[in-house]
């Protein structure tokens, strides 16, 4: 097997990484951005490596990002989605994992609605590196590495900067991963949500908690908007209506201006325009949303390289 870089055997979560490992991954992603802007977008870094994207949840964006990342580095990339997989025939998660691992891929990229899926599978799959592409409401490390790369390129050092995350914190793996990353990398996180959308003891992450969006704007450098998961709203009472949510927690131009000229806007996508973010904000010069998508490919190239791009030990 190729020797992993930066001391990484798997990539389960941001919380498992050191500052050095995060910095190395972000810098390596930075280096890969060039490949993406070439006319011939191909590099031989992962030639002969096999990557399987195993997605149990719908995710066009993350799956495509991993697929392009692998292919641009010349890896053989196989995509499996739950709708066509053996799990539909009743196979267990463990059997699916073991079956795919028996085909000897170098990396399994996994997205699953169950938190801890990668940790669970790693106990049984010895020789396969695992990348968590989002597990339940737990972690989404490559999204956070993507955000850190985007912030590095747009505002330089983020040490001491303040990121305000708005929306459904309770169900957000992105929010959890950022709160962990903030501690490691030295930026501040503010959380803005009604109590219905906050997990228990969220303040233990060391973040400031606000229920009033307007009060949180002052001193914010990055406004990070989370998707309102409208699919939940039919059965749950997290907030009374989309209209009230947008009024209370939606980002519009007025709020963006109140935050100040320096403030940038992020969103992990997919966006609900007119719900958590107004269209004019999403499309404004202050929006880093498309950069996030672009840099996602580079960061995933870095993650794949870190896990299986090193020299093969003979």
């Amino acid at each position: 097997m190729p020797k992993p870089l930066f001391g990484l055997k798997h990539l389960f979560g941001i919380g498992d990484l050191s500052r050095e490992q995060i910095t190395s991954l972000v810098n390596l992603g930075d280096d890969f951005i060039d490949i993406n802007s070439r006319s011939i977008k191909k590099d031989a870094t992962l030639r002969g490596r096999t990557v399987i994207n195993l997605f149990f949840e719908n995710s066009t964006r993350t799956r495509t990002s991993f697929e392009i990342a692998g292919k641009r580095l010349s890896a053989d990339v196989i995509n499996i989605s739950a709708s066509t997989s053996a799990t539909k025939k009743g196979e267990s998660l463990l059997d699916t994992g073991q079956t795919l691992a028996a085909m000897q891929p170098h990396v399994l990229v996994i997205r699953h609605s169950v938190a801890g899926t990668c940790e669970f599978l790693s106990e049984f799959l010895e020789d396969t590196a695992l990348i968590n592409a989002g597990d339940g409401s737990h972690e989404h490390p490559t999204q956070i590495l993507t955000d850190l790369l985007t912030l590095k390129r747009s505002m330089g050092d983020i040490q001491g900067k303040t990121m305000t995350i708005v929306g459904d914190i309770a169900h957000s793996r992105v929010a959890r991963s950022h709160m962990l990353a903030a501690k490691i990398m030295g930026y501040n996180v503010r959380i803005v949500a009604p109590k219905t959308l906050l997990p228990a003891f969220v303040e233990n992450y060391g973040c400031e908690v606000f229920h009033d969006f307007d009060a949180a704007l002052k001193g914010t450098d990055i406004l990070y908007m989370l998707r309102v998961q409208t699919e939940r709203l039919t059965t749950n009472c997290y907030f009374p209506s989309i209209r009230e949510y947008h009024e209370t927690y939606g980002l519009n131009m007025k709020r963006l201006k109140a935050a100040g000229d320096h403030c940038m806007v992020m969103h992990p996508g997919p966006m609900n325009r007119g719900v958590e973010i107004a269209t004019d904000v999403a499309d404004s010069m202050k929006s880093l949303i498309l950069e996030q998508v672009e840099h996602g490919v580079a960061v995933r190239m870095a993650a794949l390289t870190a896990l299986c791009g090193g020299a093969t030990e003979e």
């Binding site: 998660l93 938190a115 801890g116 669970f120 409401s137 737990h138 228990a200």
Partner: protein, 428 residues
């Protein structure tokens, strides 16, 4: 000549307030005497350095027979029980079919007798098919051998049905055992709601799920003048409510499972599904409140909530895994920590696993009174051993104590004056 003489042991029989080094002798399967034996015996067990007590009673056990014998059957469950020094198990009705009519009660009792290792005292369902809508024939179930009533695994969720269940059962003095969980608060949860569930990103089960159901039931118990028992109590608020109800003279009792006084929610921090149960492991504050409840007598009984599952049901990620852990073989060593920590004197600790559940359920077992069936547990309170889940007698391997050192080991278990477990071996 007496049949069996157990000599030199520290005999602890809480029902008769005995705690002294003396002999116990057995004739025709019954306790013939406790004290100084002078005579000859066909078989002598030297219990020097060991504790001799009534066979333990576990009033909260899930065997999976009938219906899910691959998880556990009455035979494997009986073996696990006697390996843990337990000679009477009260089994919960959530089998398939469930224990909601007399035929099933008779069937499981007969099956246990055929195996002959321990007593099986079934707990009948409160509602038909555990649906929470229609009461079972409690009189008929009781006459067939059911010793209490519970829909355990599920709460009796409907307040009106619970009221009727308490009123009807109290007409005849039956005990209603409630799995106190307001599902409208806990739905979708896997672990205690708190900082641990937040870090894991899994949905939590708030303590209010347990506490609010108990609050409701205590009100109904007061009105019905019923006997109400909270199964597997796990939260500080719940212990406080039971204590208050007892002070007010209500017939409210409760039990604690060893995992709830030995472990906290930190056990699941690595997504360990073998530490997932309902109610979930809670915080250190809750754990200490359960211990205080045991110390001051609010919690009279230690019971395991032994819940064996097939490994397939546990190996699927924390939020998908089944609730429950096995407990029969770890009840005694884990509980002995309470004595070692100075929470309870040995005699009080043993009472919570013998005399107290016997009294609560009107069982003839749980004491070494002369003429009683010679159901006896002989254990070494200090012997250390490593728990290997592959060596459990239960078919369930789902234990959070795998690989840990346990202190306290059962040396002999006697049932009706017969040695059924001796130094690690089942004797049939």
């Amino acid at each position: 000549m007496t049949d069996i003489l157990i000599t030199n042991g520290r005999v602890i029989d809480p029902a008769n307030q005995v705690d002294e080094v003396c002999d116990v002798w057995i004739e025709s399967g019954k306790v013939a005497g406790v004290g100084k034996f002078d005579g000859a015996a066909k078989k002598t067990i030297d219990a020097k350095g060991l504790i001799v007590c009534p066979g333990l009673i576990d009033m909260h056990v899930h065997l999976r027979e009938p219906g899910e014998e691959w998880k556990e059957d009455i035979e494997s469950g009986s073996q696990a029980a006697v390996a843990g020094g337990i000679t009477t198990i009260c089994t919960m009705p959530n089998t398939e079919p469930c224990i909601d009519h007399a035929g099933i009660v008779l069937q499981v009792i007969a099956r246990a007798k055929e195996i002959g290792l321990c007593n099986l005292r079934p707990i009948g369902a409160v509602t038909r098919n555990l649906k929470g809508t229609e009461l079972t024939e409690m009189r008929e179930l009781s006459r067939s051998g059911a010793v209490a009533f519970s829909d355990d695994g599920k709460p009796v969720w409907h307040a009106g049905v619970m009221r009727k269940a308490l009123e009807y059962s109290s007409s005849f003095g039956y005990l209603i055992i409630q799995h106190a969980e307001e599902k409208q608060l806990t739905e979708g949860g896997s672990v205690n709601e708190g900082w641990v569930s937040t870090q894991l990103g899994v949905q939590g089960m708030p303590v209010e799920g347990e506490d609010s159901m108990i609050a409701r039931d205590i009100m109904l118990t007061r009105r019905a003048d019923a006997r109400y028992h909270v199964a597997h109590i796990s939260s500080k608020g719940a212990v406080e409510q039971v204590r208050l109800a007892q002070k007010q003279g209500l017939k409210v009792t409760t039990e604690a499972a060893p995992h709830h006084f030995a472990l906290t929610e930190d056990e699941v921090l690595n997504f360990n599904a073998d530490a997932k149960m309902s109610p979930p492991l809670r915080t250190e504050e809750d754990r200490l409140a359960v211990i205080e409840g045991l110390r001051d007598g609010t919690i009279e009984v230690i019971a395991t909530d032994h819940a064996p599952h097939h490994e397939d049901d546990k190996r699927c990620g924390l939020s998908c895994a089944a609730f429950g852990i096995v407990g029969l073989e770890t009840m005694l060593p884990v509980s002995l920590d309470l004595e070692r920590a100075g929470v309870l004197p040995m005699v009080d600790l043993i009472a919570k696993m013998t005399a107290n559940p016997a009294k609560l359920l009107n069982l003839p077992e749980g004491s070494l009174s002369q003429g009683n069936a010679a159901d006896i547990c002989i254990f070494d309170p200090n012997k250390q051993w490593m728990l290997d889940r592959e060596k459990l007698r239960s078919k369930g391997r789902n234990t959070p104590w795998h690989g840990r050192t346990m202190t306290g080991q059962v040396e002999y278990t006697l049932k009706d004056g017969r040695v059924v477990f001796e130094k690690g071996e089942i004797r049939v």
